[in-house]
Amino acid sequence: MNIPFPVRKQPQGEASRHARRAYRSRFSLSQTVFLASIVFLFMPLFVLVLYSFNESKGMGWTRFSLVWYEKLFLQSDDLWRAFGNSAIVAFSSAGVATVIGTLGAIGVNWYKFRLKVYVQAITFLPMILPEIIIGVSLLVFFSGIKLKLGLVSIFIAHTTFNLPFVYLMVMARLDEFDYSIIEAAHDLGATERQTLLRVILPAAMPGFISGFLTAITLSLEDFVITFFVSGPGSTTLPLYVYSAIRFGVSPVINALSVVMILGTVILTYSLRNFLKYIAAK
């Protein structure tokens, strides 16, 4: 087997123990495990990419073909409708979560108030509890308040699980922020609103932008919670994928996977550059 990294020759015979030690620390167990893990993590994705170009319906390779991409883009109306629903929910829930979560982080980070411990606890718990608990409790809650299950209930659920992430990410930024700058703004006569808009928010921007993007990703990918709180006509993309893969392989989903993996990589990359550009300005 070819080993993709240079292997040094082991010192021969009664060579010094030290040399062998040095050798061992170069070709280490941790490196081997890491490389194997990366293969493990990527291998399934590569299989999907490869077989999205397979002409046959199954996983036996026949011939290169773009037929499944054609199907995906031209003959999958339901899929794109589901994608539309996902996009609506993702942007609206990420937007609301970002506004509420950013304000919450500012309040908790810089002020002392009566409900502070409560706010800290309830922003911590949803991240820790398994998704199914949130899904089930929201379903029961919505049926209790007689809210019809649909895009609105999905929006509420997504905002709920997105909020803690935005809150934490903004919090992490505010930690690095020098409080005396805010004091300076106040001393120079800025009102609370001016301070918020001109000092705090620009400083917290990397935090809430990354929070917003994380929220969009989490929302686009959520299956479990959405599964419980969705109703007829509010199929999101993961729910659509679920119904397609429930009973085995579906080649259109192979093609969709590739588009989604590429989308993730391109989005991540362009965003990185965009933010670097902002930072440089």
Binding site: L48, L115, F141, S257, L271
Partner: protein, 320 residues
């Protein structure tokens, strides 16, 4: 109460003028009170009520749901869920430890971090689906084995306990690697050298020097993997069979098929209790340790954010 102090920066003074704390945090408090705390309280309430005829509940106090929990069928599922979760968590941590160690020692941390994070950012269901495509009866592996002539019949890889554990390990491996990496990265490697100079073997230096120093990180990683695995729903549903059902699947069945809401609520209470117990153990470890775990958690969220936004700006990611 003292304001939350943050490492590296002076404790922010509390302003004497007007307190805008609740103005800022009010929306957060309200949102979670309505859509998180209230639903959880309803679940607690429902678990003590009588089951309605067509789903829902009747407002009569009853312990039926908890009695049903002791029923051998449920007890068996609960026990199996616990065992599979423990096995999957142990495997995940055992793989993640050397990975985190290697990444922390590497000169190319940013790249390695990205390598771990790309699969992590790939859609959850797509990743489960990839395993269905590989392990399915007509999947990649069976076709491959057939083609090279190793097998003539299709082998059923999916729909059993092993498949569930394999896919769970796959799904949650990055959750374990990231906090372990960030802890080990802060570890002073010269301690290992010192141990070796004083005559410790490599294994000794790992178990007696490294591991005790990264306890908080290991605990965070265990928590991050065990809790979602214990509450798993989608993975056993898609790659498991009837005998590899986990508690999450039982809840869903009780909720949507059998329509026994009190029972679904009671099982949810069990999962919540186990989760809370995990957090309590964390708090019971000495306080300093607990704060460190909390810091790890924040560092984790932060490294997730940075990985999307700008790996180079990560306090540990950009180092040579």
């Amino acid at each position: 109460m003292k304001p939350a102090a943050s490492p590296g920066s002076a404790t922010p003074p509390i302003r004497a003028t007007r307190n805008y704390g609740l103005t800022y945090a009010g929306p957060t408090a309200l949102w979670f009170s309505f859509f998180f705390v209230a639903p959880l309280l309803i679940i607690v309430l429902y678990s003590f009520l009588k089951k309605g005829l067509y789903g829902g509940v009747e407002p009569i106090f009853s312990l039926d749901a908890y009695r049903a929990l002791i029923n051998p069928t449920f007890a068996a599922v609960a026990f199996k869920t616990l065992v599979s979760s423990i096995i999957a968590t142990i495997i995940t941590i055992l793989i993640a430890l050397p990975c985190g160690y290697f990444m922390a020692k590497s000169r190319h941390q940013t790249t390695l971090l990205l390598l771990v994070i790309i699969p992590f950012w790939t859609n959850f269901l797509i990743r489960v689906y990839a395993w269905i495509a590989i392990l399915g009866n007509n999947g990649f592996l069976n076709n491959f084995l057939h083609r090279v002539g190793l097998t003539h019949e299709y082998i059923q890889f999916l729909y059993n306990q092993e498949a569930v554990i394999l896919v769970l390990v796959y799904m949650y491996l990055p959750y374990a690697i990231l906090p372990l990496f960030s802890t080990i990265d802060k570890f002073d490697f010269s301690l290992l050298e010192a141990a070796r100079d004083l005559g410790a073997t490599k294994t000794q230096s790992m178990t007696k020097i490294l591991l005790p120093n990264i306890r908080a990180g290991v605990f965070t990683a265990v928590l991050f993997t065990f809790i979602p695995i214990f509450g798993a729903y989608a993975v056993p549903l898609l790659v498991g069979g009837k005998d590899s059902y986990m508690l999450g699947n039982v809840i869903a069945d009780q909720l949507t098929k059998t329509r026994n809401w009190p029972l679904a609520s009671a099982i949810s209470m069990v999962i919540t209790a186990v989760t809370t117990a995990g957090i309590m153990v964390m708090m019971a470890m000495n306080k300093r340790e607990a704060t460190r775990v909390m810091e790890e958690r924040r560092a984790f969220a932060d490294s997730m954010a940075d990985s999307v936004v700008d790996p180079a700006s990560h306090p540990t990611g950009g180092q040579a």
